[in-house]
C-alpha cells in the first residue's frame, strides 16, 4: 500500500512539474519580401530577461534559386551568386544598454552589427481595421528611407515588432512597407517551453559571438564601398571591372535601409 502511494505521488509530481513548466509567449510572423527575388520566411518575436529577440527561419525563394538561368530581360545567359548565410535574420534588443545587435549578409560574410536602438515615431492615421480577428488601429512612420504602415492591437501591450520595429503602442498585427515590398503578418501567438527557448538562445548566442562585429556606420561604409557586397563576390572578375569607378557613383542602396539618421538634412 505504501509503495502504491509513493508511486501515485510520483506520477502526480511528474505531471504537475510538466504542466507548471515556465512558458514564453512567442509571436509568429509570416514574412514576405519583394525587393528583387520574392521570398518568404517565418519570424519569431519574444521577450525574455529584459531582452527582446526577433529571428527568422532561412529564406525560401518563391521561385527555385538557379545558379544558371536565362536573363528574362535580355535573353542572354545569366549566372546568379548568392551572398553568405542562409537568409535567417537575428535582431536582439539588449535592454541593459539600449542597443540592438543584428546580423546582415554582406558578400561572402555575415556581419554582426551593433547600433543604438533607433526610436521610431508612429502617428495614428485615424483608420481602424479588423485583421486576422484583431481590432487594429493604423499607424504610420518613416524609417531609414522607407515609409511603413502598422496595424496594431492596442489591447495587447507589446512595444516591439518584427525586425527593428519598436516604440509601438500595442502588438503589431501587420506591418507593410509603402510599396508592398516588405510585409510582416502575425500568424500565431504561442507559448513555448522555457527550456526550449533557452536552448535556442544559447545556440543563437554562440552563433552571434562567432561573427565579426562592426558598428552600423562601419557596416554602411562597407556596404557602400562594396556595392552591397556584390563587389566582393565579383572580385575575381576581370581587372577592368575592379578599376571601373563610374559605377560606384551610380550605386543605389537596396535592401531595407536606404538612408540613415546621420545622412538626413
Amino acid at each position: 500500500m505504501k509503495m502504491k502511494n509513493i508511486f501515485f505521488y510520483l506520477i502526480i509530481s511528474i505531471f504537475s512539474l510538466g504542466f507548471s513548466q515556465d512558458k514564453v509567449v512567442t509571436y509568429e510572423y509570416e514574412v514576405n519580401y519583394n525587393l528583387g527575388r520574392p521570398l518568404y520566411k517565418t519570424g519569431y518575436l519574444l521577450s525574455l530577461d529584459d531582452n527582446v529577440r526577433y529571428n527568422t527561419t532561412k529564406t525560401i525563394f518563391l521561385k527555385d534559386f538557379k545558379k544558371y538561368d536565362i536573363d528574362s530581360e535580355t535573353g542572354n545567359p545569366q549566372i546568379s551568386f548568392l551572398g553568405a548565410g542562409n537568409g535567417s535574420e537575428n535582431v536582439v534588443y539588449l535592454g541593459i544598454n539600449d542597443s540592438i545587435i543584428s546580423t546582415k549578409s554582406l558578400g561572402r560574410e555575415v556581419l554582426l552589427i551593433k547600433e543604438k536602438i533607433p526610436i521610431q515615431i508612429w502617428e495614428l492615421t485615424g483608420i481602424k481595421k479588423l485583421i486576422n480577428g484583431y481590432q487594429c488601429v493604423e499607424l504610420k512612420t518613416q524609417f531609414r528611407g522607407r515609409k511603413y504602415k502598422a496595424y496594431v492591437d492596442l489591447s495587447i501591450p507589446f512595444r516591439y515588432g518584427p525586425w527593428k520595429f519598436n516604440s509601438l503602442p500595442g502588438l503589431a498585427i501587420k506591418i507593410i512597407e509603402e510599396e508592398n515590398k516588405l510585409i510582416w503578418t502575425l500568424k500565431a501567438v504561442s507559448k513555448r517551453d522555457l527550456d526550449v527557448v533557452e536552448d535556442f538562445i544559447f545556440k543563437q548566442n554562440d552563433y552571434l559571438s562567432s561573427l565579426r562585429e562592426v558598428s552600423l556606420k562601419e557596416y554602411v561604409e562597407l556596404y557602400d564601398n562594396t556595392k552591397g557586397g556584390s563587389d566582393v563576390l565579383f572580385s575575381k572578375l576581370p581587372r577592368e571591372y575592379k578599376k571601373d569607378k563610374s559605377s560606384t557613383s551610380q550605386f543605389k542602396r537596396g535592401g531595407f535601409e536606404l538612408k540613415y539618421e546621420w545622412e538626413e538634412n
Binding site: 528583387g36 530581360e73 542572354n76 542562409n86 563576390l233 575575381k236 535592401g255
Partner: protein, 89 residues
C-alpha cells in the same frame, strides 16, 4: 597600262571590302554576353552586371566561358569585360 591599273585598283578595293565585312561579321558573331546577378539572401535584393567578350571564337567557347564563371574559374574568364549598358536582346 591604264586598263591594267584600273583592274588592279578594282581587285584591291574588292579585297579590302571583303576584309572589312569579314571582321565585322566576326565581331557580331563572337560577342558573348552574360548577365551576372548578385542576390542578398536576407532580403532578396538583386544587383545586376552585364559582361561581354569579343575574344570567344564560337558558341561552344562562349558556353565554356560561362561554365568557367559558374565554377568560379575566374582566371579563365579574364577576357570578359563589364558593359556600361544593359546587354542587347
Amino acid at each position: 597600262m591604264k586598263n591594267l591599273l584600273f583592274v588592279l585598283s578594282c581587285v584591291l578595293f574588292l579585297n579590302s571590302t571583303e576584309i572589312i565585312e569579314s571582321s565585322s561579321n566576326n565581331l557580331d558573331y563572337n560577342t558573348c554576353w552574360v548577365t551576372l546577378v548578385f542576390v542578398d539572401p536576407d532580403t532578396g535584393d538583386e544587383r545586376r552586371e552585364y559582361y561581354y567578350s569579343n575574344s570567344r571564337v564560337s558558341d561552344a567557347d562562349c558556353a565554356q566561358g560561362m561554365q568557367d564563371m559558374l565554377n568560379g574559374n575566374f582566371m579563365m574568364t579574364s577576357d570578359f569585360r563589364k558593359s556600361p549598358v544593359i546587354a542587347p536582346m
